[in-house]
Amino acid sequence: MKFRGIAAFLLILVPFGFASVVAKAEDTVKIGLIEPFSGPIAAVGRDTLEGFEYYADYVNARGGVLGGRQIEIVPLDNAMNAEKTTQQLRKAIDDGIRFVSQGVGSNHALNIIKFLGKHNRRNPDESILFLNHSAVTTSFTNELCSFWHVRFDANVDMKVAALATQIGRDPSVSKLYMLNQNYAYGQAFQSAAQQFLGERAPNVELVGDELIVPFGKVLDFTPYIAKIKASGADTVLTGNWGPDLVRFVKAAAASGLQTPFYTIYGGLPSSIAGFGGKDGVAVGIKQITEMHENDANFNGTPEFEEMNNGWTEYSGKSMYSERLGWVVLMFAMAVDKAGTDDPAAVAAAFEGLTYEGPGGAVTIRAEDHQAHFPMVISTMSDQVERPFLYNNESFGVGWQTDAWVTADELTLPTTCDMKRP
């Protein structure tokens, strides 16, 4: 019981030098991408990074921004740990990065928003702008809205509203069963669905509304399938993702349940790989996205086709979140519009900025920095022109358009009271 072992303290601290490596002064505009590149869902982080790098290359090959400066993507690993996100944010600040992007895990996004709220107030000269590409918690553009945050994905309320709109239009839906994960996101999905179904699908009866313990704790979904059968539901609506979606779909397929599943995350590569294309088609998985490869709109414009083919060639993957492109392309537009890489000016330039995507105009609403764009609801099918490709392997299934929901239909009021510097 001596305390002398602490002498080792010093030895261990020597390599600390690594931590304070000073960033090289290069004339690039850097976007720090804070995502999980290790840990349980590193694949998602890596796919995101690949997307960012591809579109940055695309912009750079066409002359970059501000008359010749290149966009550089700096990966910062948060290992799916919210605290580490904060740490990496500090590292980004140390390294002189003024723009960060993140999207996987809304708890991480929340940390960034809160952190920047304090940091940008305390250090206005080192302000940072957050480009949120996929974190969908509605409050980020409502009560938590910030001038330093721009969201490119539709929030939960918008997505649920879009699904409710389509469910209301779909004559085959009369009895709906809802199953969600019992945590902040799942509960938000549930209450949004209760609201929007009432408004937009008044003729649909909600015959079941369940919550489950999230994150792979439920192993056997058969009892839920039996309840769905017993309720007489003809359609299922679920916000589930990960194993909670995979096992749900597998159990439905194994029990011969043939009620379509309206989902948000049914089209993620990990979802399709998890339940397999065959089960997905058997059940009738539907998803809501900003675009998919088999839509008629998508293949009309040579520019988009070129961009997309280049992506598939580059990554061996089908396009499944086109908005990663918007983030980079619109960022370039905003920087050029602002004429500077000062975050405050770029943030201001984003307000009202419009980009003409293949599905229609993408506009950043000035009041809350929320992107608005049309969304498409599609069904999984094995009879498609372009089956889904992931790492050069085809899943043998792809998506077919059911219907589009316009940007106007998705526009919801905001409670945002934005404080501009």
Binding site: A19, G105, N107, A184, F215, N392
Partner: protein, 424 residues
């Protein structure tokens, strides 16, 4: 412990530690480094607290993050209550005490049932409680706010002595002070009747019953006190990040603190300190260089269990009898040790090379980029890098097998010499 220690011998290491804590932020000034060091401080307290169970009391817990995390939640809520004028103001500096009490409360409660058994039963109960509390933090959104966790602003109330705890450096020094206080307190605990009996229960719980002690009561006390310090650390963690989420109570954090304590060395008071500093450092920096750091961490953990169960502290302490007699006896160890370390490095280079190649192959199937390992850029699709690293690793493993007996022999010789000298 009757050795007549002079002031320096007795308190030197503590003064050294205090000075180190004082000057570190002036050596590593970046915001990232400061944050990392603050986190190290928090985890030093947590892993020392954990070692009160594992190392001192012989209780392997898979769920000690509960007390760390719940104290964190309490701290954040309380700060927010102070903001909303619901709760009376308490100086932020004293929050760790409050967090400690929260840990103590839950530790006392859960400890009462879980410490009735030791060994694997205790480990299983801790696992069960851990799973239940993690599930609850997700379900009870009003209290824990699910995956998002809860946020606060630590700058609240008056600013005694001009300390607002806005700047990170002030939080760092707050943590540093608490590290010293908590470490000293936990060190002192090992010297008390309770501390001694805790060791006794670890070594031989049955015998303690026959010298008048209720071994369950000792385990319970150890558990509760350990939870107090875990709560103290959790509270500091919450103040540091101004956020707490379900990760802090989850099996992930419980596993991390187990890794820290064990890799550092559970048999020695300073072991968890070494472990916390090393693992936090690796955790914070390795991710920049490799995606496989979690694998390396796991391999390190397994290697420690298999080859040096005393941990890093154990490796240092096994030389203590030698340097106590005469530090010059350590000199002949240099060459054999360097040989062994060299062999280890060679095999590590081979191993890391293979791992990185494999990761590259599975994670980047689509795009064909070049891969840079150890500053060498190579084409990972070819067979040459694979064979090269395999050969390097094989050579390294062979060299280890040759060098280990030499190093072990040198240590044996040195310790024999030291013993012979001591006997004179």
């Amino acid at each position: 412990m009757t050795a007549p220690g002079t002031f320096v011998a007795r308190y030197g290491i503590w003064i050294f530690g205090a000075v180190l804590l004082l000057i570190m932020p002036h050596v590593f000034t970046s915001s990232f480094a400061l944050n990392l060091m603050s986190q190290m401080g928090v985890l030093i307290i947590f892993s020392l607290a954990y070692n009160m169970l594992l190392g001192q009391g012989g209780m392997l817990s898979f769920g000690h993050a509960i007390y760390f995390g719940l104290a964190g939640y309490f701290t954040i809520h309380y700060l927010n209550f102070v903001y909303d004028d619901i709760a009376p103001y308490i100086p932020v500096s004293l929050f760790p005490l409050l967090g400690g009490c929260v840990g103590l409360f839950f530790g006392t409660l859960v400890g009462y049932v879980s410490t009735r058994r030791a060994g694997t039963t205790f480990a299983m109960i801790s696992l069960g409680f851990g799973e239940m509390v993690t599930a609850l933090t997700l379900i009870l959104v009003a209290i824990f706010n699910g995956e998002d966790g809860i946020q606060t602003d630590r700058v609240v109330g008056p600013e005694p002595l001009g300390i607002s705890y806005g700047p990170n450096i002030e939080v760092y020094y707050l943590i540093a002070v608490w590290v010293l206080v908590a470490a000293a307190a936990m060190y002192a605990l090992t010297k008390t009747p309770f501390g001694r009996m805790s060791n006794a229960v670890r070594d031989n719980p049955e015998r303690t019953e026959f010298i008048g002690y209720n071994s369950q009561r000792i385990r319970w006390l150890a558990f509760a006190l350990s939870s107090f310090f875990a709560g103290l650390a959790g509270s500091l963690h919450a103040i540091n990040f101004e956020h707490v989420g379900f990760e802090q109570v989850s099996a992930l954090t419980s596993g991390l603190v187990l890794f820290m304590a064990y890799i550092g060395g559970v048999g020695h008071f300073a072991g968890p300190v070494i472990g916390a500093v090393l693992i936090t450092f690796l955790n914070g920096t390795l991710t920049t260089y490799t995606e496989a750091w979690q694998l390396y961490l796991g391999v390190l953990f397994v290697a420690v269990i298999m080859f040096f169960p005393g941990g890093l502290a154990g490796l240092i302490i096994m030389h203590q009898p030698i340097w106590r007699i005469d530090t010059r006896l350590l000199a002949p160890l240099t060459v054999p040790y360097l040989l062994f370390i060299g062999a280890l490095l060679v095999s590590l280079i081979g191993f890391i090379g293979l791992v990185e190649l494999l990761i590259y192959k599975t994670s980047r199937l689509g795009a064909a980029h070049d891969l840079t390992i150890f500053g060498i850029t190579m084409d990972p699709s070819g067979v040459v890098p694979w064979i090269s690293f395999a050969i390097v690793m094989a050579v390294g493993v062979y060299a280890i097998r040759k060098a280990f007996p030499v190093a072990a022999g040198a240590w044996n010789t040195a310790i024999d010499q030291a013993r012979a000298r001591a006997a004179q």
